[in-house]
C-alpha cells in the first residue's frame, strides 16, 4: 500500500525530525552524555566541545537535559492526546448514533466542563490530587477530550444520516460496526488534522502547568519547565531558554507536516492511488 517514492518532501522532513525526537525519547539514558540531574559544570556555561549546548541555571548539561526532557514531554503529550482522542471520539460518535437522552446528557456535561477555563480547572484538580505523571495525563486527557467530543459528534451527526449508514442499520448491524466501520473511516480526515493540533496544545498545556509548578516535578523537567528554569538567563544574553523553546516549535512543525501528509491520504477516496 505505502509507496515510499510517493512521499512528498514536506512529509519526509516531518518524518525525519519527528523520528529524531522519538529516538531521543526512547533511548534517552543511552544517548545522553550525562545524567539528568547531574551537576557537571558552572552556571550557564556557553556552548563548548564538552557541553555541546552549554549548561543550565545550576550547571547541569543542557543537551542531556534536552534529551531526557524529550522523553518526558513526548511521553506525556502522546498519552494525554491518545486518551483525549479515544475518549472524545468514541463518546462523540456514540452520542451521534444513539441520540436522544444520551446525546443531550453527554453534550450538556461537556458544555459544563468547557465553560470552566481549562488551565484554572487543571490547576484546581492537580492541586487536590497527588502530583504524579498518571494524574497529570488523566487530567490533561479528560480536559482535552471535550474539544474532540464536540468535533467528532458534529462530524458523525452528518455521516449518520447518509444512506450507507441507513443501509447498515437496515442490515441489522450493531453499534460497534456502525461506529468503527461506517463512521470512523469517514470521519478520519477532520480528526487527524485536529490530532496534529491537539498534540501540540498538549505540549504547551504541559509547559504551562510545569511553569506554574504543578506539572512535571523537579529534578525532572519537560521542555516547558526548562524554559522556566532558564528564563532569567535571557536578560544576560544566555540562549539556554531558547533551545527548549525552539525544540517545542520544531516538534510542532514536524508533527503537523506528518499529520498533513496522512490527512492527504485519508481524504482521498481511491485508497491513496490518485496522489502524486
Amino acid at each position: 500500500m505505502l509507496d515510499i517514492k510517493r512521499i512528498p518532501t514536506g512529509a519526509w522532513i516531518g518524518l525525519l525530525v519527528t523520528g529524531v525526537f522519538l529516538i531521543c525519547a526512547v533511548f534517552a539514558p543511552w544517548l545522553a552524555p550525562h545524567g539528568n540531574a547531574e551537576i557537571v559544570g558552572g552556571v550557564w556555561e556557553p556552548m563548548s566541545s564538552t557541553h555541546l549546548l552549554g549548561t543550565d541555571n545550576i550547571g547541569r548539561d543542557l543537551l542531556s537535559r534536552m534529551i531526557y526532557g524529550a522523553r518526558i514531554t513526548i511521553f506525556i503529550a502522546v498519552l494525554a492526546t491518545a486518551l483525549s482522542f479515544s475518549l472524545g471520539a468514541i463518546l462523540g460518535f456514540t452520542a451521534a448514533v444513539v441520540g436522544g437522552w444520551f446525546d443531550t446528557g453527554m453534550s450538556r456535561l461537556v458544555d459544563l466542563l468547557m465553560s470552566i477555563p481549562t488551565l484554572i480547572f487543571g490547576l484546581v484538580v492537580l492541586s487536590v490530587l497527588p502530583s504524579n505523571v498518571v494524574t497529570l495525563i488523566l487530567v490533561m486527557g479528560v480536559l482535552d477530550s471535550t474539544r474532540v467530543y464536540r468535533l467528532s459528534r458534529a462530524v458523525a451527526v452528518d455521516i449518520n444520516v447518509m444512506d450507507f449508514v441507513e443501509a447498515a442499520k437496515l442490515r441489522g448491524e450493531g453499534m460497534v460496526w456502525i461506529i468503527f466501520r461506517e463512521i470512523l473511516p469517514n470521519a478520519l480526515s477532520p480528526l487527524i488534522s485536529e490530532l496534529g493540533l491537539r498534540f501540540i496544545y498538549a505540549v504547551l498545556f504541559l509547559s504551562a502547568l510545569s511553569f506554574l509548578g504543578l506539572g512535571v516535578q523537579p529534578p525532572n523537567a519537560d521542555w516547558g519547565g526548562m524554559v522556566k528554569e532558564n528564563k532569567d538567563g535571557i536578560v544576560f544574553g544566555i540562549p539556554a531558554a531558547l533551545i527548549p523553546a525552539a525544540a517545542i516549535a520544531l516538534l510542532a512543525i514536524s508533527v503537523n507536516l506528518v499529520a498533513d501528509w496522512i490527512l492527504n491520504r485519508t481524504t482521498d477516496l481511491k485508497g491513496g492511488r490518485g496522489n502524486g
Binding site: 447498515a168 437496515l170 441489522g172 448491524e173 466501520r181 469517514n186 481511491k270 492511488r273 490518485g274
Partner: protein, 554 residues
C-alpha cells in the same frame, strides 16, 4: 448601444466552434497519472436565435463543449486546441479580461441544479439582476422592471413580489425558471442550458420546458440545450447534435434525428425504452401485504401516508409512481421499519412484521433488502467493492475466507462485472457500475423482496436500460419480488406487473398494469401520463393544451 453595435458589425454565425480539443489529467488505479482527451476535435455552428440540442450519455463531453462557449473548463479540464468564435472573435484568445466581459453578458448559463446554484443568503432579485448590474447594462430600477417582466413571461406566481423571496422559499421548478430569468436578464446573445429539467418531476418539467421554450421564442436568444433526454430536446431545439465519447456521432435537424436517425447509436438512443416484459397475474399469497397503513412525521402532525394498502406477489414487480412528496419513499420507510406506521399492519412472507426496525429478527431484515436512488451515497466510500458485497455474506450467513470470496465473484458475475472490481473503491466506478454493486449487495442476502427506490433516475437512459434488464433477468433467476418506486412512467411500463399511483400520501389508483394504464383515467393519473415527454414534434404544445389539472409542485 455598444452591444447593439457589436451585433450589427458582424453577420456570420453567432457561435462557431472549430476543431475543439479538450483534455484533462486522470489518475487510473494502479497506473501513472495520464492525460486524456475528453473532446476530440468537435466543430459546430449556431445561428442567431436558433436552439441546438447537445445530447449524449454522461462523459460524452456535452457539458464540456457547452461550457467552452464561455471559455470555461470545469475542474482540471483544459481547452488545448481549436477555436471558439463568438460574434466574430475567438474568445479563447481574449484573456481574463475578455472572458470577464463576455460571461454574464453575451453568454449566460443555466445550471442543472438551481437549488445548488443560487446563493441561499441573498434574495432572488439581487441575484437575478447582479450580472446585468455588474456589466452596467442599465440602472437597477430598470433592470428590476425587466426581471419582473421576465418572471411574468416565465409564468411564475406573484411576479411582482417573488424577487423578494430567498431561494429556499420557492419550489424547485420555480427556482429553475428564476434561473432562466437570471440568464435572460442581461439580454445575452446565447444561453447555455445544462440539463435544466433533469432534476425535476415530470409534471413540473413540462411547465418549465414550456416556459423556457416561450422565453427563447419571444426574446430571440440563441441557446445550447444540453440534456440526455432526447424526448425533451426534441421539444425545444431546431437542430440536434448527438455526441459520444467526445466525438460527433450525428448532427441534423430535429425531425431528421428522431424520425430518420442515420447512425446506429442515435437509433439506440431513440428506441431506448423498449423492454419486452409480459405481465404476470397476481397470486393468492402475496409476499408482502400492506394493510391500511397510516404514517406521519413530527409525532402525528403531518400525515404523509393515509390508509395505504398494497400487495406484492412473489417474483413480481409492484411499481409505485407519483411525484416528489407523494409519499412513495415514505411507504418504503414504513415497510422497512425506519418510520414505524401509526396504524395498519404489514405482513411479510406469512408473518406480521413488527413496526419498529429494532424489534425485527435478522431473518426479516435479510429477506427484505433495499436499493437506493443515489448509489454514490448508498455505499461507504471507504470500503472496497469486496467489503461492500462481502459484508452481508459474513453478517447473515457467517461466510468467511475463500467461501466468501467465491460467492463475491459469483455475485459480480451475476451483475455482469468482472473479478477485477473486488479491490476498487466506489469512487473508481461509473454510475451504472455503482448501482450494479448495490444490486449485488442486496442479492447477497438472498432476499424475497427488494425495494428499489428510484434506482435508475440518476442514470443515463442507456445505462438505466441496462440496469432494468439486469433486474428483470435477476428476477427470473432468483424469483425475487420488487417494489419499484419511480416517477418515470416509461420505466413502469417496461417492468411492472402491477402499479400503485400515489398522490399526496394516498393510493389513487391500484391494480394490474394493463388495468391501471387503460382509460378512463382519474385526473391525476391522466396528468402523470400526459406529462411524460414523447419523442414527437409538437408534443409539448399538445400536452399543455390537453391538461385537466395543474401539477401540485410547480
Amino acid at each position: 448601444m455598444a452591444k447593439a453595435a457589436a451585433k450589427t458589425a458582424h453577420d456570420g454565425p453567432l457561435l462557431d466552434i472549430r476543431n475543439l480539443k479538450i483534455e484533462a489529467t486522470v489518475y487510473p488505479p494502479g497506473e501513472e497519472p495520464k492525460q486524456v482527451t475528453i473532446v476530440h476535435g468537435v466543430s459546430l455552428t449556431l445561428q442567431k436565435g436558433k436552439v441546438l440540442g447537445l445530447i449524449g450519455e454522461s462523459g460524452a463531453g456535452k457539458s464540456t463543449i457547452g461550457l467552452s462557449s464561455m471559455a470555461y473548463g470545469r475542474g482540471g479540464v483544459k481547452i488545448t486546441g481549436g477555436e471558439v468564435i463568438l460574434n466574430g472573435r475567438d474568445i479563447l484568445k481574449g484573456g481574463a479580461k475578455g472572458v470577464r466581459a463576455l460571461r454574464g453578458r453575451e453568454v449566460c448559463y443555466v445550471a442543472q441544479s438551481a437549488a445548488a446554484a443560487f446563493n441561499p443568503a441573498h434574495r432572488l432579485m439581487d441575484q437575478v439582476v447582479e450580472a446585468a448590474l455588474e456589466h452596467g447594462t442599465g440602472k437597477r430600477a430598470e433592470l428590476e422592471k425587466r426581471a419582473v417582466a421576465l418572471f411574468r413571461k416565465l409564468s411564475l406566481p406573484n411576479p411582482e413580489t417573488i424577487g423578494e423571496r430567498y431561494p429556499h422559499q420557492v419550489s424547485g421548478g420555480q427556482l429553475q425558471r428564476v434561473m432562466t430569468a437570471m440568464a435572460l436578464c442581461s439580454e445575452p446573445d446565447l444561453i447555455v442550458f445544462d440539463e435544466p429539467t433533469t432534476a425535476l418531476d415530470v409534471t413540473t418539467q413540462i411547465d418549465v420546458l414550456a416556459a423556457i421554450k416561450d422565453a427563447i421564442r419571444d426574446t430571440g436568444v440563441a441557446a445550447l440545450y444540453i440534456t440526455h433526454d432526447l424526448a425533451v430536446v426534441a421539444q425545444v431545439s431546431d437542430e440536434i447534435m448527438v455526441l459520444r465519447h467526445g466525438r460527433l456521432v450525428e448532427w441534423g435537424g430535429t425531425r431528421q434525428i428522431i424520425k430518420e436517425p442515420r447512425q446506429e447509436y442515435t437509433n439506440a438512443l431513440v428506441s431506448v425504452h423498449h423492454i419486452e416484459h409480459a405481465e404476470k397475474t397476481p397470486t393468492t399469497a402475496p409476499v408482502l401485504s400492506v394493510k391500511n397503513v397510516t404514517a406521519s412525521y413530527g409525532g402525528g402532525e403531518v400525515k404523509v401516508l393515509k390508509n395505504v394498502s398494497v400487495d406484492i406477489h412473489p417474483g413480481q414487480t409492484l411499481a409505485v409512481v407519483g411525484e416528489s412528496g407523494s409519499g412513495k419513499s415514505t411507504l418504503a420507510r414504513a415497510i422497512t421499519g425506519l418510520l414505524p406506521p401509526q396504524e395498519g399492519s404489514i405482513t411479510f412472507a406469512g408473518r406480521t412484521l413488527s413496526n419498529a426496525l429494532k424489534d425485527r429478527t435478522k431473518n426479516d431484515l435479510r429477506e427484505l433488502q433495499m436499493i437506493y436512488q443515489m448509489a454514490d451515497v448508498a455505499m461507504n466510500p471507504r470500503q472496497t467493492v469486496g467489503t461492500i458485497i462481502g459484508r452481508p455474506l459474513e453478517f447473515y450467513f457467517n461466510m468467511r475466507g475463500r467461501e466468501r470470496d467465491q460467492r463475491i465473484a459469483e455475485l459480480l458475475e451475476k451483475i455482469e462485472m468482472g473479478k477485477g472490481f473486488v479491490d476498487r473503491y466506489p469512487a473508481e466506478l461509473s454510475g451504472g457500475q455503482k448501482q450494479r454493486v448495490c444490486i449485488a449487495r442486496a442479492l447477497a442476502a438472498k432476499p424475497k423482496l427488494i425495494i428499489c427506490d428510484e434506482v435508475t433516475s440518476a442514470l443515463d437512459p442507456l445505462v438505466a436500460n441496462g440496469i432494468l434488464k439486469l433486474l428483470l433477468a435477476l428476477q427470473a433467476e432468483e424469483d425475487v419480488a420488487y417494489m419499484f418506486i419511480t416517477h418515470d412512467l416509461a420505466t413502469v411500463k417496461a417492468i411492472a406487473d402491477s402499479i400503485a399511483v400515489m398522490y399526496r400520501g394516498e393510493v389513487v389508483r391500484y391494480g394490474p398494469k394493463s388495468q391501471v394504464l387503460t382509460p378512463p383515467f382519474d385526473a391525476y393519473t391522466d396528468l402523470l401520463l400526459s406529462s411524460v415527454p414523447e419523442m414527437e414534434l409538437g408534443w409539448l404544445e399538445k400536452a399543455i393544451a390537453g391538461r385537466r389539472m395543474a401539477a401540485a409542485g410547480n
